[in-house]
């Protein structure tokens, strides 16, 4: 295992969580998965539940280690990445 492929904790919230069917998991994406966007694309191929969850990838938001992250944000140093719909608190 290279340094880039250390496990990342993924967390899912709201309807992303419901569609994926779990709240969190640990993954080890291939080395060519460099950004949040790459990761969403890769997750889509992991099964029909992921395909359904990330079908509307353009509306899904992400956070890296508790900070909002754009689709082009690099994931190399991420410990925890979360995927969720636009927030609706307040």
């Amino acid at each position: 295992m290279t340094e880039n492929s250390k496990p990342i904790k993924l967390m899912y919230f709201a309807w992303v969580r419901e569609k994926v069917g779990r709240a969190e998991e640990h993954i080890e994406p291939p080395e060519d998965i460099a950004t949040v966007g790459d990761l969403m694309g890769w997750l889509k191929g992991r099964g029909p539940e992921y395909a359904a969850a990330f079908e509307r990838a353009d509306v899904i938001r992400a956070a890296i280690d508790h900070t909002h992250a754009r689709s082009d944000a690099p994931i190399a140093s991420a410990r925890e990445i979360a995927f969720f719909p636009p927030v609706t608190g307040g």
Partner: protein, 157 residues
């Protein structure tokens, strides 16, 4: 300056008293309370469940509060946000801002609400009177409200 994320209800009067007790440098206190609407013809909602992202929620609320304190001369501020299952009429969120002058208190409270609505990781699911649950869609107007403060958000790019 404080942030609390909790399932328990809050008391706007008691929180205001704690924040302003013994202070004579405060001239203006603004509170905003957000509550669950529902059980009306327009919105036949019987309950609302708020999910959040523990850890990130506190971080974002503290960031939002620090941003407000940097922009306005606040004497005190408080953000409380509930999660879990709530009923129509229940409190959801409380923001209190205190300042020497009213404009700062009003603007900071509006900013905190606009900003937390667009950044704090909470998601609402409404359950109607027949038990059907549906995730609430984000409102474009909330993004616009946040954008009017024209502040560079903390985002990893």
């Amino acid at each position: 300056m404080a942030v609390r994320v909790q399932t328990d209800d809050f008391d706007v009067g008691a929180e205001t008293k704690v924040l302003t007790k013994g202070r004579t440098d405060i001239g203006a206190v603004v509170t905003f309370t957000g509550t669950v609407r529902g059980n009306t013809p327009d919105t036949p909602i019987s309950s609302m469940t708020l999910e959040h992202y523990p850890g990130m929620t506190e971080t974002e609320l503290e960031r939002v509060e620090a941003e407000a304190a940097a922009r306005w001369p606040l004497a005190a501020s408080l953000i409380i946000h509930r999660y879990g299952t709530l009923k129509p009429g229940d409190n959801i969120v409380l923001v209190i801002t205190a300042s020497a002058h009213r404009q700062a208190a009003f603007q900071a409270a509006e900013f905190l609400m606009d900003y937390l609505k667009s950044r704090a990781p909470f998601w609402k699911k409404e359950t109607d009177d027949e038990g059907r649950g549906e995730w609430v869609d984000a409102r474009e107007s909330d993004d616009k409200a946040a954008a009017r403060w024209q502040t560079p958000s903390k985002v990893i790019t």
